[in-house]
């Protein structure tokens, strides 16, 4: 584990370098003193108990969650100046509720191509080829014209991976890709990720349990209570959830991350509002496992 006392010179070959990163959510420190360097071609699993901050960390790395302290570089460029988003692919946690209007599998995957498309230009041949290839890798080419809502949860997760894949990024962030996915689909997912790795992609994924992904991982980072507790060769699932790695603290932490309330308005529908709600949903779901 690298713990540099001073900021190191930028290294464009390093996909991710976070130095002394901290994240607070509404004034409450969630991540503290996190150092994480991911080299090109690494397959890193961010693990840890519920509420340990692993999802927050991946969201901070994608810029969705602003750092309150520390320094984050993607491909050697500080996050504020980073514009090459076509080099980054993000697979968010699958949200239960679909959107209000039907969308086909092909359309969702095609939206992943936006990072490489100019405004008001139609899809080119290269775009269509990349979309077709992405569908092929996740094994859903035959479902391209179907509505996303007609797929099972595991297949929807694979659609989200294909969407990230369509932009042909070098660096993938996946937030709990296996959560709530049945075993056959987990195997299909692992197969897709194996192909990505063979193509030289750098992969950072958040996982509660690795399951079929275990053989692919070449480095595990275990979070505990907002800090990095372990960074090294992969661990077996039962080792990660050893009491030393903070399972005992999980309920304590979720209680702390209690709902953010701004006023006395009953919290009815608000599909696109605060991001922290997303985190809570994740915590709730993780808690049931």
């Amino acid at each position: 584990m690298t713990q540099p006392p001073d900021p190191l010179p930028a290294d464009p070959l390093l996909p991710v370098r976070l130095q002394d990163g901290a994240v607070s959510i509404e004034g409450r420190p969630v991540l503290r003193h996190v150092d994480l360097t991911v080299g090109a071609g690494d397959f890193v699993a961010l693990m840890g108990a519920n509420g340990s901050g692993k999802s927050t960390l991946v969201r901070a790395l994608t810029g969705l969650r602003p750092l309150t302290a520390g320094r984050l570089e993607l491909f050697g460029t500080p996050l504020d100046e980073f514009r090459s988003w076509e080099r980054v692919g993000y697979v968010p946690q699958r949200t239960g509720a679909g959107s209000g209007v039907p969308a086909s599998v092909w359309e969702v995957v095609a939206s992943g191509r936006l990072t490489r498309r100019r405004l008001l230009r139609p899809l080119g041949r290269a775009d269509r080829a990349a979309i077709a290839d992405a569908l092929e890798v996740v094994g859903l080419a035959d479902r391209a014209k179907d509505g996303v809502s007609s797929l099972s949860g595991g297949q929807q997760q694979r659609v989200l991976i294909a969407r990230a894949l369509a932009g042909q990024p070098e660096l993938f962030f996946l937030d709990e890709p296996t959560a709530g996915v049945d075993l056959p689909n987990q195997h299909a997912l692992a197969e897709s990720l194996r192909q990505l790795r063979e193509r030289g992609a750098t992969i950072v994924l958040v996982a509660h349990e690795l399951g079929p992904l275990a053989p692919l991982v070449d480095r595990a980072v275990v979070m505990r209570d907002g800090r990095v507790a372990y960074d090294g060769p992969p661990l077996a699932d039962h080792e990660v959830h050893h009491p030393d790695f903070g399972e005992a603290h999980s309920h304590h932490h979720t209680a702390h991350e209690h709902r953010s309330r701004h006023d006395h308005v009953p919290s009815v529908s608000a599909p696109l509002t605060a991001h922290d709600r997303h985190d809570h949903r994740h915590d709730d779901r993780g808690g049931r496992r």
Binding site: S99, P102, L119, A274, H278
Partner: protein
Amino acid sequence: MTPADLFALPFMQRALIAAVFVGIAAPAIGTYLVQRRLALMGDGIGHVAVTGVAIGLVTSTSPTWTAVVVAVLGATLIELIRERGHTNGDVALALFFYGGLAGGVLITGLGGENASTLQSFLFGSILTITIPDVLVTMVLATVVAVLCLGLAPQLFAVSHDQEFARVAGLNVRAYNLLVAVLAALSVTVAMRTVGLLLVSALLVVPVATAQQVTRSFRTTLVAAMGLGVLASLGGLVIAALASFRANVAPGATIVLLSLAVFVLTWPLGVWLRRRQRARVPFDDEVPADHAHAHDEDDHAHGEDCGHPAVPHGDHLDYVHDGHRHAPHGGHYDEH
């Protein structure tokens, strides 16, 4: 006067032109509002625009333009409040609903304006539309439709998954504001046709109708625009033909016609969704124990055997009287 004479009248032709453009533009932006579950946003903006109309009437400027300005401001504010997340989206909308309507009524009264003038904006008066109004309608509706179709990939991505769009490097806030402004423009465009209180119907109902039968976003968008034109033209024609016998408001017939189309399409949508749900693969794991299915007179499941075949992991389950039969060797297992 025959119906043919009626459609030859200049005011009727102006009304027909306005109806076509409104029918195209309103469902186009409405599709994005429905996609992000903000179907009532058009209503909120419509109520805010009442204040804009009242300001126009009282200050003797064009109510259309004051409505455009106030509606755009209102839509921007609604969007910013929603984005902050301090109040739920629907509560923010509600606040604007009542403030806008009350402000409009108050200002009209203070200015000593006749309430019936305001009413022509609340419920539409497409037959009194002037040539400059038709031109404004055509220009604004074209802007809305062109941006909704031209920026469809970006607007789709932002409305479908905001976080993914942010990581893809899109300026999510700018696109959200664009949707709000386009919604405000289409509300003021539709104001003369169906009126501010009914405007949301033209934004939302054609979309709701289209998505009963569609599977993709693009077909929903295009079908909604077609249904919008059908409803606004059809409603206007019905009102014109009925005017020989009774006093029929075109705004009302337009909205009721699009609702009628929805009611007709809805059972089809229910049936399609039922059929689709039956085919969603089973996600659970295959049971380890082999419980043999009951013997069924040597019935062999297969293609077209009459039992729905649903993917389950690496094989198919046949749904049979509420049981799931999975082929296993020479018999069927219960899954």
